[in-house]
Symmetry: C2
Subunit: 205 residues, 2 copies
């Protein structure tokens, strides 16, 4: 069945095209400003066609949110070369920060917006795998740091959450425009500067 295979491939290609278009518009104009109509228009298909490939707008958001985690994970790949877990932890934070600052719309989709998570809420027993595995990677690294006698007296899970929160919080304040009041630095600079302070603390732990 050569034709059947081709059709499946074609369907997959259109699906990808929709996602690509959606993403482009998100990045250019923001998630809120991107409508199903604008996505459809962008690829010269009708509104209805988009709904043939995605249940609703949230499904698109969720898919892109997953793509975001794939990309962040890809950027994390270089960390495998870093032997020392503490160094790896530090490098991981840097990559995370850079990703957030360079891809604010994607970051919002991944860590802030409720919409992409509603897909999970609808289907019972669905879990946020992306987040859990990302958290798992961080936790493993922190655990390895602890094995080397760092973070003595700390509890693994809450400490990991705190570190995640620290990095996420600075990104989040920056992206939601709340870090503007801190004027001594350019918008993205304060995030980096804040991280440097964290590193000074890390050295002591």
């Amino acid at each position: 069945m050569g034709t059947a295979e081709r059709k499946i491939k074609e369907k997959e290609e259109l699906r990808e095209l929709i996602l690509k278009s959606a993403r482009k518009l998100f990045v250019e104009n923001g998630v809120a400003q991107t409508t199903i109509r604008s996505i459809a228009k962008n690829i010269d298909y009708s509104i209805g066609t988009v709904y043939l490939y995605f249940k609703d707008k949230n499904a698109i958001l969720n898919e892109l949110h997953t793509q975001g985690f794939s990309e962040l994970g890809r950027q994390f790949k270089v960390l495998a070369e870093v032997e020392d877990p503490m160094e790896r932890l530090i490098a991981m934070g840097r990559i995370y920060l850079r990703f957030a600052v360079e891809n604010p719309e994607m970051y919002e989709l991944m860590f802030t917006l409720k919409a992409p998570m509603e897909v999970l809420n609808e289907a019972k027993d669905k879990e946020w795998n992306e987040g859990q595995s990302a958290f798992g990677v961080l936790k493993t690294t922190v655990d390895q740091c602890m094995a080397r006698k760092h973070f003595q007296g700390h509890r693994l899970e809450p400490l990991t959450f705190m570190i995640w929160g620290l990095v996420h919080g600075m990104c989040s304040l920056h992206i939601s425009d709340r870090a503007n009041g801190v004027k001594l630095h350019d918008a993205a600079g304060i995030v980096q500067a804040g991280y440097e302070e964290f590193l000074k603390i890390l050295k002591k732990l």
Copy 2:
């Protein structure tokens, strides 16, 4: 002119009524689910009346966002009694965390949602006073800690931003439903637990 005064007061009262209704609906059903229509219906006025008192929906969001800062500021009042700046810093964090966990919708309005900030973007040279003064309070406390030889080798502004980010980040992850994957604790518990880890670190600085 007694009548003129009364009219001004009446106008102010209806304005407050709209805000009160809006806030009630926000807290009950979430910001996204609260429409101008539902606000109007809730107080038995027409849609148009709401627009007589507020330019648009963002103006209502902005006003409530400001109310949120007033309330958080009120809760911070007890901190005046805490002499030691480090203790004060710790207590401030606790109050902040509790406020966020107890008032998630308000917190989102204050620190996450873009809409209430758009009011500022429209009018040039307007600043985010609420955020800046809140940041200022935190900065002053950190500065006093530094005067007592804590945080040696750190820079005031970036360190303050880092601490704010740390606390905000955990709240933000919790509220946006991203802390669910961390299963060993109940939803709000992980935020507290994370903060405890931060305190362990603080003791050493």
